[in-house]
Amino acid sequence: MPAASPAWRSRSSSKCVYFRFVSINELSFLVLTSLAEEPRHGYAILGDIAALTDGRMEPQVATLYRTLDRLAADGQIVEHSTEVVAGRFRRSYRLTDRGVSDLRAEAAQRSATLKVASVRLRRPNVGLAGGAA
């Protein structure tokens, strides 16, 4: 029987109307993208994020877990399994249906923005008034 949600994870951003209209932040997006491939534990997520970003992003462990807690509170990820490997405790996470749909929506939005940016960058006089003429 699941325990009551502890106070430290009671802040679900989904309860706040404001957050529904705000894009997923970069780290959350990367975590969701990482978990879209397969369930992963914290260290594997960090490694995948470094690979996804060519090493540009190396979040602190504490920062990663804040993100994981927030995503779990929002119902986008859930615990997949726990195990002890070589004396180290591993808890892996996977996407929920909601996490998949949110990631899909976010990816679509970013893709659309990316296309617009690409089109605008191909025009002459980028950034100058009349450049779009």
Binding site: W8, S10, R11, Y65, F89
Partner: protein, 335 residues
């Protein structure tokens, strides 16, 4: 368990105990995974991130007044120690910089009603808490702000400049620290203690005016009476240099026997209020003024309570770390 792991676990004490129960082992595993070979200490960046995240969680967990009061107590401790150090520093600086004291006195002075109003706001918030379902974090965070306000404004007293702030300070400290460490069943008692001390303050206030037959209702006279509510008296005047001794003794007592400190502190605070000052209007017994050590003991014991409960709040309930070596001691137990 190596030293690095033990140090990570100590840093993770910044998180609330509920979070540690669920996440500590997992986070330590990942932290050890990302550590460099041969690394024995967390990097500054890591340590900062862990502590900042932990304190953020603690703030978030201030969804109930107890947690907010607990954090407020820790804030008070930090500010109190800072003020005491300031007071000691001023006493050392006075021979070479005589103007430093007057400058700070101006900066730290505030109307007498400010700490009382802050205390009243805090009590009102606590009383309204049951009707603030869903907005409990407002209560917790407000308590932190209010207490910080009391402490900052009361810094003048701690530095030996003004007299007025010790009473709400003591009331709030007792309440905060009892809330920080008390079992849930005792939290009502903690609230009653804090509210009772505040009520005692109010009675003391009313008692003064009841005995003043010459008060004509003017604010100036009011101020004159209030300003006589000294927690030191003419026999023993607490000077800035004394605060360092008080702080150190309070810290030691709180670390050594926190429960005794709590018990004695709960008794000493109302006693000190009754024995307060040359007027002693509420007690009506001038001989009580002879107990000049009691005012000094207020902050001593208040700090003891604070340290004891803060220690319990931050360090206790860490099952994953029980039995581990102290991270800053070597194998022989030496620092």
């Amino acid at each position: 368990m190596n030293k690095l792991e033990a140090r990570y676990r100590w840093l993770l004490a910044a998180y609330p105990s509920a979070h540690r129960h669920e996440r500590e082992d997992e986070m330590v595993s990942v932290l050890l995974d990302v550590a460099q070979p041969g690394q024995t200490r967390p990097s500054l960046r890591q340590a900062t991130a862990i502590v900042a995240a932990g304190l953020t969680y603690r703030l978030r967990s201030a969804a109930e007044w107890q947690a907010g009061a607990a954090i407020a107590g820790v804030v008070a401790l930090g500010l109190g120690v800072a003020m005491a150090v300031l007071a000691g520093g001023i006493s050392l600086l006075r021979p070479v910089a005589p103007n430093v004291e007057s400058g700070l006195r101006v900066g730290l002075s505030a109307p007498w009603w400010v700490p009382t109003a802050a205390w009243a706001v805090a009590l009102a918030l606590l009383a309204a808490e049951p009707w603030l379902k869903g907005r409990r974090s407002v209560v917790g965070v407000s308590l932190i702000v209010v207490f910080a306000l009391i402490m900052v404004l009361g810094g003048g007293h701690l530095a030996g400049f003004t007299r007025w702030y010790t009473v709400p300070f003591a009331c709030f400290l007792v309440l905060s620290m009892a809330a920080a460490g008390a079992p849930r069943r005792s939290q009502v008692a903690a609230f009653a203690t804090g509210a009772g001390l505040g009520g005692l303050l109010l009675l003391r206030f009313v008692g003064t005016y009841g005995r003043d037959r010459h008060w004509d209702g003017s604010p100036v006279r009011l101020w004159e009476h209030v300003s006589r509510w000294s927690l030191s008296n003419d026999l023993v005047v607490i000077r800035p240099g004394h605060w360092l001794v008080v702080v150190v003794a309070g810290l030691l007592l709180g670390l050594w026997r926190p429960r005794i400190a709590v018990a004695v502190g709960l008794l000493a605070v109302p006693l000190a209020m009754l024995a307060d000052g040359p007027n002693a209007a509420w007690s009506g017994n001038p001989k009580v003024q002879v107990v000049a050590a009691i005012p000094t003991s207020i902050l001593l014991l208040g700090l003891a309570i604070g340290v004891g409960w803060a220690r319990r709040s931050f360090v206790a309930h860490r099952p994953a770390t029980s039995g581990i070596p102290h991270p800053f001691r070597d194998d022989r137990g030496d620092l």
